[in-house]
């Protein structure tokens, strides 16, 4: 009993409860604390890090942190070069990642990332109630009641940063007999084995690449051909560092990459498994024997009973349907932080998604989300510094040239300024672009960074006249991505003079 009392955030009433101690939960908690909003941060894990306590198994992260960048580390603009540190205002809590990397790569290893997040908790002074597992949820009047292994938490606002790390296996016969990617053991334990990996996305190829020198034979199978990021010219699809299994297959080294669906998996007499496949071209049956079968069939969002209290979900990852502020579209007061934010598609221009699923996008989403929670639920007034009219054009173009939020979340987050004649020009900070362009508010302007279908990166300006939705104007790009050109200045000035007769003269 005494132990329970010493851990922070005992069960009880809090204005906000944050569930999860991965990057999403930690970042949300940081900004709640910064704004002075009392909240409990609880986690089922014994320590911080979320998915980075376990994944990836065999590889460095796919997100970079460049220790040597054109910008000093204590500068906000350095964030563009460091995709793994969480955001903080305190000097010793920001840009932690580069201080923990050994210099052999610009991609941190999993343990380095885990240490980064643990250091953040300590240096930002966050408190977490570990080993407190959220189990059930209900509503009581205006409150949410979260039942946990330690007792009940009541709150006005609940933020779920529970990740998308609940292993998913299809219920095809035999899948209950085999391991999931999440259960992968040390590489040496697969020495000499015939391996069958179901799934040809990043997790499947990560295993194949990591076990290439250990397994006797590796078969990868899924109905559709693998999408490779080098073909999609984006971060979508299997990443470049995982193509070695393809090379191995082409040279006949013992890797077989099949387009086939799994009909069923059976135990083979004498040990191991027999996988019965149906080839995608023609439907012929193929039987493959393997010592180990691993389902790299993805993950789902562990939303427990949230659907029962009305949270709508969609998609094969079981994501919640959300508003532009990452609030449940069907149950106001429930918010999501971290990788779950990828369920908010935003404008997705030319089919290019934002980086909401990764730390370098989710950290900004968390900040904007917490600011929204603060202003709408708790009456917090955020500073909206006034900007001099003759400084606005330069400010907008500098943001487009350097703002890490805009570069990490292209066509998704924007820097906005309101242009109300009475109040002058006010800095509204970083806003969700889809929200800005659709809300019919006061006169305002927002700038974002966008890429078109030719790969050209350029600023986009959205000007909104009072009471009308925003109008898009694209500005000129630049080979060195410095958008502060005379041409852009002139175009921006003329766009602004139209919309804001009162605020700018």
């Amino acid at each position: 009993m005494a132990e329970l009392a010493q851990r922070p955030f005992p069960p009880g009433d809090y204005p906000v409860v944050v569930v999860g101690s991965g990057p999403g939960g930690l970042q949300a908690s940081y900004f709640l604390k910064r704004l002075g909003i009392e909240h409990a941060l609880i986690s089922a894990d014994p320590a911080p890090g979320g998915m980075f306590r376990r994944f990836p198994f065999f590889q460095r992260l796919l997100s970079w942190t460049k220790p040597y960048a054109p910008v000093p580390r204590d500068n906000r603009f350095y964030e563009w070069y460091d995709w793994n540190s969480l955001l903080a205002d305190e000097a010793d809590a920001r840009a932690i990642m580069p201080t923990l990397m050994d210099g052999t790569s610009s991609f941190p290893s999993r343990p380095e990332m885990e240490a980064n997040l643990a250091a953040f908790v300590e240096r930002a002074g966050l408190r977490v109630r570990y080993e407190c597992r959220w189990e059930a949820t209900r509503r009581e009047g205006d409150c949410f009641v979260l039942s946990t292994t330690d007792g009940e938490y009541r709150c006005q606002v609940a933020i779920f940063a529970v990740g998308i790390a609940e292993p998913y296996k299809p219920d095809t016969p035999g899948f209950d007999l085999i391991a999931h990617y999440a259960d992968t053991r040390a590489a040496e334990s697969y020495a000499g084995k015939r391996l069958f990996i179901v799934g040809k996305e990043n997790s499947g190829f990560e295993l194949a690449t990591g076990l290439l020198q250990w397994a006797q034979r590796i078969v990868l199978a899924s109905p559709r051909p693998a999408k490779l990021s080098v073909n999609t010219h984006s971060l979508l699809g299997v990443r470049a560092r995982y193509v070695q299994p393809f090379e191995d297959q082409n040279l006949g080294g013992g890797v077989f990459i099949l387009n086939a669906s799994i009909d069923r998996i059976e135990r083979a007499a004498g040990g191991g498994f027999r996988v019965l496949c149906l080839r995608s071209d023609g439907g012929a049956e193929l039987s493959v024997d393997a010592d180990e079968v691993i389902a790299a069939t993805g993950f789902q969002c562990p939303l427990r009973d949230l659907q029962q209290i009305g949270v709508a979900v969609f998609g094969r990852s079981n994501l919640p349907a959300m508003t532009n502020y990452w609030e449940s579209a069907t149950v106001p007061g429930i918010y999501f932080a971290g990788t779950i934010g990828q369920g908010v598609a935003g404008m997705k221009k030319y089919g290019q998604p934002a980086n909401s699923g990764a730390v370098h996008g989710a950290r900004y989403n968390a900040r904007t989300m917490v600011y929204h929670v603060a202003t709408t639920h708790f009456g917090v007034e955020l500073p909206r510094p006034e900007v001099k009219p003759d400084a606005l054009v330069d400010l907008l173009l500098t943001e487009a040239t350097r703002a890490p939020e805009l570069w990490n979340q292209k066509s998704y987050l924007a820097r906005a300024f309101s242009l109300d004649a009475g109040q002058g020009i006010r800095d509204e900070g970083i806003v969700p672009l889809a929200q800005f362009v659709d809300e019919e508010g006061g006169a305002a302007v927002a700038i974002a960074v966008e890429t078109d279908d030719t790969g050209d990166i350029h600023p986009a300006v959205y000007v909104r006249e009072a009471g009308r939705p925003a109008i898009e104007s694209l500005l000129a790009s630049n080979p060195l991505h410095d958008f502060r050109s005379t041409e852009n200045r002139a175009q921006l000035s003329s766009l602004l003079s139209g919309a804001s007769a009162g605020a700018i003269r």
């Binding site: 559709r224 969609f314 998609g315 094969r316 579209a329 997705k348 030319y350 290019q352 109008i471 898009e472």
Partner: protein
């Protein structure tokens, strides 16, 4: 309720646009397009904006609005976005969600390739657009 891949493929098979596809072809479609969800009152296509995507409605309802005036409603099985993409011009209408929307999305640059790979879908699209043209021509000035 989030659908499994099988349930998604089942649903696609019930839509007119995909009525001529075999099961493996439906699975290809499901693989190439992504599921997205939009809350009420959200614009999915925006008049005058670049970068439009192609959408097929799985559940929910949207209104087609020009200059704020509602012209039509679209629901399950309907598609939109193709006009802007194929013409290479921004949309002339807004498409706004009237109810929570669940849709499949394909990036604009991928539409032409997708239609070439699935001529039966293109043919169904052709028929729907022909019908729109007939209806458009019936509007009174």
């Amino acid at each position: 309720m989030a659908m499994t891949q099988q349930e998604l493929v089942d649903m696609l098979s019930s839509l007119t646009l995909f009525a001529d596809l075999t099961r493996p072809q439906l699975e290809q479609v499901a693989h190439k397009m992504t599921e997205e969800s939009f809350p009420v009152g959200q614009r999915i296509l925006r008049q005058g904006f670049t970068g439009t995507g192609f959408y097929v409605i799985l559940d929910g309802e949207v209104a087609v609005k020009i200059d704020g005036e509602e012209r039509a409603k679209l629901a399950k099985g309907d598609f939109f976005g193709e006009m802007s993409i194929l013409l290479g011009e921004p949309p002339v209408a807004d498409i706004v969600t009237l109810r929570q929307l669940h849709a499949l999305h394909l990036g604009g640059p991928e539409l032409e390739g997708f239609l070439r790979d699935h001529p039966q879908v293109m043919y169904r699209m052709l028929k729907t657009i022909a019908l729109r043209l007939r209806n458009a021509s019936r509007w009174r000035s």
